[in-house]
Amino acid sequence: MQNTTSSPRLLSRTSIITISLVVLSLVVSSMLPAGFFALLWDRLNVFATVFLGIFVEAVPYLLLGTLASGLVEVFLDRDQMSRWISHRPVAAAVGGAFMGMIFPVCECGVVPLTRRLFNKGLPLSAGIAFLLAAPVLNPIVVLSTASAFGWGQMLLWRMGVSLIIAVVVGLVFSVEQNAANVLRPVLTSSHDHDHSLEANASFSEKMRRALLVTADEFFEMGRYLIIGAMLAAALQTFVPQSSLLAIGSGPVTSVLVMLALAILLSICSTVDAFVALGFLGTFSFGSVLSFLVFGPMVDIKSIIMYLQVFRRRSVAYIVAIPFLMSLLAGILFNYLQP
């Protein structure tokens, strides 16, 4: 029950941050002189269009992810899981990363699914590697990257670098023995009981339970998707993107700009290849690669969703290590093939 007391506090903190950011942006925009209300209305329209753009795009993927999570909850039991997954750290991390190849989930859907898999006894290193690798290695993203860039270098390096980063971060977490230090307690005390199933339940009964889990999780994760999408839309409405693009041209700054853009844009990994394609004219191979590697792992909405599953210190690692490694990879490629 103590979980339920910590959650409203967290809610208010998140919403206070959201609200204060929006208010701050409004204050800044209000400093512009004439036609203030017309301007505000225009901005509000842009905000609404961008927000709904991200939301409409993400909802089907979030539904798929929560559906996968619901099916895992009902059809996979802990014994099966421990039989499949190795508990040696390297094997678990590599296995977890490759597991991403079979689940068609992007960065919104992968969060609830990973949490569910942790519940089922997936080792930490495997789960973290899965969390970071699945949004890039899954079949849909491979296809969309290939259709944007062709079956060539970009696809190869995107998958390769992402795989390495995912395994490294997974290994970092394998040092931690106690999962409770990494994961936030799960808020399922009441619905665990609700969804517990007799082993011989019929298929349709199982499907019914799976769909109820899907609905619950869609609301739980949808909330953070909505907060994240609103933040991203607010930033896009009030922070000029053109100035960001104007900064970057050097081999290091251009990578930094692409990484910042990956966080700011918050677009789904299944479609970001088409966006990255547009940058290829102005940005080098390495910079665009870093965008393609880092974007699926970390952006505004996924950070907010991670915060619901992991403790804050763990989220810092999950964000910082991929950031530094993508930066390094981007710079390396910029020097190798300028």
Binding site: G53, A215, Q241
Partner: protein
């Protein structure tokens, strides 16, 4: 909140979302938000939402029949529910409007869009010059080194009007937003229009510009300019964005 009430709200909100998406799909306004290519995905989402709504209604009916075991059950955090109202409210209260000149200030503006794949430019060569849209022209100007070949070609493009201080007298931008996946990644591209009555045009008005192409230099870049023979105002097109 009692479990059954929670389930009812869930069902209603998901139904709302389902109807909202379906109405946007039916009116064609989905392309204000996402690339046409991803509309089937949203349709799939609508179907999945309908299945969830159906499951929830069945569950509510079931729990009403077995009254006693419902009393002590507590629902998950109910705050989750109210967040789902936000997209519905934003979608319903703020009238749908595609990205336009008011988005240009932050989303950036480009007469030299870096737009990809040289093979499509070969194809563009063969298309009739009057069939090309703004994006096609910009692509051609990016990929061809010899721009004189385009001078004098006939052009007929649509876009919204945008005025900018970098432009000369009687000139305006004919702009379109290019959206790769959703409105979040949209950016504007434009050709320059030149028309004696340019000052009578209103910003953001959609126009069909017909005329002949000339090359001018703007911010150190060669960009296509249309010497307009006619500028007609047209309604907002069904698909306001271009999809690369």
């Amino acid at each position: 909140m009692p479990k059954r009430l929670y389930r009812s709200f869930q069902a209603l909100l998901l139904l709302g979302l389902c109807v909202f998406f379906a109405s946007k799909a039916a009116s064609g306004q989905l392309t204000y938000y996402i690339n046409l290519r991803f509309v089937p995905l949203t349709i799939f989402g609508i179907i999945l939402l309908a299945v969830l709504v159906q499951t929830l209604f069945t569950e509510i009916k079931r729990s009403r029949q077995s009254e006693q075991d419902d009393d002590h059950e507590l629902a998950p955090v109910s705050a989750n529910l109210w967040f789902m109202l936000l997209p519905l409210l934003i979608g319903v209260l703020i009238p749908a409007r595609p990205l336009d000149s008011s988005a240009l200030a932050t989303k950036g503006f480009n007469t030299n869009a870096p737009l990809v794949s040289a093979d499509s430019s070969a194809q563009l060569f063969e298309t009739d010059s009057e069939e090309r849209n703004v994006l096609d022209w910009i692509k051609l100007f990016n990929f061809e080194s010899d721009l004189t070949q385009f001078v004098g070609q006939k052009a007929s493009v649509i876009g919204f009007v945008y005025f900018d201080e970098t432009l000369g007298k009687n000139q305006f931008f004919v702009s379109r937003f290019v959206v790769s996946c959703c409105a979040a990644d949209g950016f504007a591209i434009a050709m320059v229009g030149e028309w004696p009555q340019a000052s009578t045009l209103e910003e953001d008005a959609w126009v069909l510009v017909k005329g002949r192409v000339r090359v001018i230099t703007l911010n150190d870049q060669s960009v296509p300019l249309i010497e307009a023979e006619s500028v007609q105002s047209i309604p907002v097109p069904e698909q306001p964005y271009l999809f690369p």
